[in-house]
Symmetry: C2
Subunit: 140 residues, 2 copies
């Protein structure tokens, strides 16, 4: 079976607040939006931010809450870009969870929660190449 | 800034149980594994399944729990592959949340929770092309 994820959908309470974080903080551009959902075209898949009530109804899971036991990561090209991006995201409605430092497994990273409490790791990982199109390959 | 997600990391309680779902159910192959984490090379990014306690400590977020307010989606090439894959995942430690049916926005989909209660949508979406390498492009 194709080793593929098509969409990551995050439940959000307020689309404008969420867009301020993703568009203002990350400087990403939506590819499509309605009053219920905003889609972003990512590196080989799609990120969706959908009103949490609609997502919960769709997946028949009213119990879904944040913070969930997961994290998304955005890798940057150098160590010195990690903390500034965490700060920038925090100034666009995010909340710093962990200031950047060096983990035992190498590289450099910190964490910030988005306005809906979804965790983002911002990391520099020299072992994982990123292509010009943003495709990330595992490496050791 | 590159419109890119490098990693999706899911917190798991039992790596062997989780692998039974992802390797046995989806038929995916790990690219790297230790006693704490299993990585899968995906379509332009990496999926990690990490012991939840380690992930929580790393992101300084002991409150992270499942089910989180998010869903991952795996799209398949035709309507008739949706329910069989949901059934196959359910028989590998998953739990059906919603049997496949047609949503108002088109296509065909159902939901299954993985053994750690992370939600997966299995969908057929004729508007979103998938390349041979598994790269998914938004379409309407």
């Amino acid at each position: 079976m194709q080793q593929q994820i098509s969409v990551i959908t995050l439940g959000v309470a307020d689309l404008a607040r969420s867009k301020h974080f993703y568009v203002g903080g990350f400087d990403w551009a939506p590819v499509f939006e309605t009053s219920e959902i905003v889609f972003y075209q990512m590196n080989g898949f799609v990120l969706g931010t959908w009103l949490a009530s609609a997502l919960q109804a769709d997946m028949r899971r009213p119990s879904a809450v944040a913070p969930g036991a997961f994290a998304l990561a955005h890798n940057v090209p150098s160590t010195h870009e990690v903390q500034p991006l965490l700060d920038r995201l925090a100034s666009h409605g995010g909340r710093l969870l962990r200031a950047a430092d060096a983990p035992p497994h190498g590289g450099f990273r910190g964490y910030v929660a988005d306005p809906d409490d979804h965790a983002w790791e911002i990391a520099f990982n020299p072992a994982w190449p990123i292509s010009a199109e943003g495709h990330v390959t595992f490496g050791t």
